[in-house]
């Protein structure tokens, strides 16, 4: 086994972990800032993917279809928050059930509108050569996309008035209310940002993961686990969980089969939950 092979395995592991992280960030933002698990997160990913696909089919260049997907999901997310999530504030499991119902509605609507099989769009045909091996460039690009998304979210939380309010609202909710932060408005913002991040993920991953109505289920299982393993400090925790468990699973999968990789992923998260029943970040002092 040569050094070039090892480098290839590590790079592709990093890229698939980044893909998982891209799909997870939106979920982590909503959970970390609102304490809400959005079981329809995967379907927002799917909506983003279909929005981008539809745009490219109408002649919009792929790069420009991504912001369209973000806008579509942000708007739908805001409507969902105002109609459903707002009324269930503080009722974690009711929110989960309602968003679960929502995920089925979105799934069935997608089946009605687009059918069960849709064409993917081709992956940009660049590739990278390491020794005797070559890797497609687009998945590798996802490493930078994931890093950029993380940086974007941190900047949003640290540098903007919205971010300061949102962080205040999770640290001391009563105090935030008392100094006049409208937590309802902040929550609507947070939820739709989370949905927009999912839409972005669906669009940017479209060349790798073709749009199908059921893509949500398959894709977000690992995202849920990453967020749950992360615990209260959702964003940083989820990044570590996604990179660690996702990267590890990818390395294992490259030596065995993808099923073994999945089993590894589930076992590692079960083991982490066994060791940290409230999530790995339960004892951390930082809040983001």
């Amino acid at each position: 086994m040569g050094l070039d092979y090892l480098a290839t395995v590590l790079l592709s592991a990093l890229s698939s972990a980044s893909i998982l992280l891209i799909a997870t960030i939106g979920l982590a933002v909503v959970f970390g800032l609102m304490g809400v698990i959005n079981l329809a997160h995967g379907e927002f990913l799917m909506i983003g993917a279909y929005a981008a696909l539809t745009a490219t089919q109408h002649g919009v260049p792929f790069v420009l279809s991504i912001p369209i997907a973000v806008i579509v999901t942000v708007v739908i997310g805001a409507i969902v928050e105002m109609l459903i999530i707002n009324r269930l504030y503080g009722r974690l499991f009711d929110t989960m059930l309602a968003t679960w119902g929502l995920s089925m509605v979105f799934y069935q609507l997608a089946v009605l509108m687009f059918g069960t099989v849709t064409p993917g769009i081709g992956m940009p045909a660049y590739s990278l050569h390491i020794g005797r091996y070559s890797l497609a460039a687009y998945p590798l690009l996802m490493i930078f996309v994931a890093a950029a998304m993380m940086a974007f979210v941190y900047m949003l939380m640290i540098r903007t008035p919205y971010g300061r309010k949102a962080r205040a609202a999770i640290q001391v909710p009563d105090m935030a209310q008392a100094i006049g932060i409208d937590s309802r408005k902040t929550n609507t913002m947070t939820f739709s940002i989370g949905c927009g991040l999912a839409g972005f993920a669906g669009a940017v991953l479209l060349p790798i993961v073709p749009a199908t109505p059921a893509m949500g289920f398959a894709f977000v299982i690992k995202a849920f686990l990453a967020v749950v393993v992360a615990g209260p400090v959702a964003l940083t925790g989820a990044a570590i969980a996604a990179l660690g468990a996702g990267g590890g699973a990818s390395v294992v999968a490259s030596f065995f089969t993808s099923v073994v990789g999945d089993v590894f992923f589930f076992s590692i998260t079960a083991a982490l939950l066994w060791l940290y029943p409230q999530g790995i970040s339960a004892q951390w002092r930082r809040k983001m």
Binding site: I37, G101, M104, V228, L273, R285
Partner: protein, 604 residues
Amino acid sequence: MTSQKLYGHAGLIFPAIVAVLLLAMSPFLDSYFAYVATSWVVFGLLGLSLDVVWGRAGFLSLAQTAFYGIGGYVAGVATINFGPVTGNTIVWLLPVGILAGALVAAALGWIIFYARMGTLQSTILSYTFTLLLWSLTQSFKAKAGTAVVGGDNGMADIPGIALAFGHGSSALNQASAFAATVVLAAAAYFIVRRIMRGTFGQIVNCVRLDIQKTELLGYDVRRYQLVNVALSGAIAGLAGALFGAWSNYLSPSIFSVQEALLVPIYVLVGGLGTLAGPFVGALIVGGLSFWLGGGAVGGQTTLVLGIVLILLVLFLRNGVLGALGALWQRHLPDPNEAARDAGMVSIDAGALEGILADAAIQAGPAKKLSTHDAFKEFGGVVPVNKICLDFDPGRPFALIGPNGAGKSSYLKVCVGIYQPESGSIQIEGKDVTRTPIFERVHLGMGVKNQKPQIFGELTVADNLWVAAYSRLRDASKAANVASAILAMLGLEGQSKVQASALSHGQQQWLDIGMVLSLAPRVVLLDEPAAGMTNEETRELSKLVRILAKHMTVIVVEHDMEFVRMLEGHVTVLHRGEVFAQGDIDTLRADDRVLDIYLGRRAHV
């Protein structure tokens, strides 16, 4: 029978009437309709399995279809292989399905409960388990004896329900299979109802309402959760076995998200925690999709069900039976009316002495509590820094200190809520440093936390009974102890009132009464006077002084007036260490103590 009595037995009478009616009707049913209706009964049973674990124990499990599917598959394999030998298939279907469901549920429950996972972690892990089975079974192919488990192709040729023994016995026709399923489902329902109305069910209710308090009363809560989830898995496994016998075929779609989604819908439509509700829910959902002509999987059912789930969560949280029950209850006399005429609690000292004397006979002499070098840190902060203290009976011990001195953390280390990094804790010389909370309670520890911890949905008498039963394990002895404590608190008039209807002060007294029901030999009280009026505080100090004559009493307190009234031994904690000890007057004269309380510089 009065309306009130009928209300109390509604869960017994109405289901019995319905079951008898269904059996009487079954010979006259159209055979296709009987066939479809059988599936509704099976789905109701599946819903019941979720109600047991979610409505009663408070754990929203999304793995019910996993237990159901596994029960179905394993029972199917057993029946395909051994059914032809006996002719009768029930003897294979039922025990194998029940056992498989119970074992898998227990295994998953063991991981979740003994790891002490958070509620969110538990639910997501159970969901993942279902999804994992879904993806694994798609490609899984195996041959078990004559049964072929064909991955995506499913498992065919599962025999239907056959009652007659002997070779060549044939499966029941649709109408009789319907009748047999109704009998089995009714039996399961009445058994579950009996269990849930008994002691086990009462304690499972307590676990849902306040798991920490239940453990502080000395119950092994994780074992109750485990047994409960195994019971739920057994019901789901039974439903799965019956489903296999009904459809003669199983495929991985039984583990699908759509299938899993239906279970909470049945429960929510019918009414969470009602046990009979899931059957009503399955009937309504099944009947609706039958009437719409879609069948359970085809058409736009998914879309409709998704919307139904959202609407239910938003607008009809208690389901059909819950709403009907609330409507009926409005026409019954208010059981909580007596809460209004409760006066201030005044302790009957004579009665208290009697209770404590009985407790000493049953539970033995008072026990000492001691900690040696107890050390606890949280990422650099050390709230408990090598504290060595011995507490013994006679006079109450008060722990005081400025905010952040480590009083509550030290108490939590003693109770077992926090695990110390080093050092040891002993109850009467027995090391309990690594002993779980409920076992410390068995050794004689009694704990009252700052907020009143009572089971709001239970009556006042039941609250005390649950506490006494934990120690005595005898229903009638526990009832005697509960009524003695009620009389001592002067709350007899409120015994049938729901505890949540009591005022804050009365809830504190009830909580103290529950601790006394345990006949503790060491009592730890965390700010018991918080939120009490001056008169109540005086009563409380009287009670604590009497208690200290019979047992070791440790009080963490802010209220200096209360500490003075206790006339006990005072320990001042500061920065996680023992700072000074003595009686309150000596400490009041101590400049160093005043310094840390008032923030003065030494010797200004």
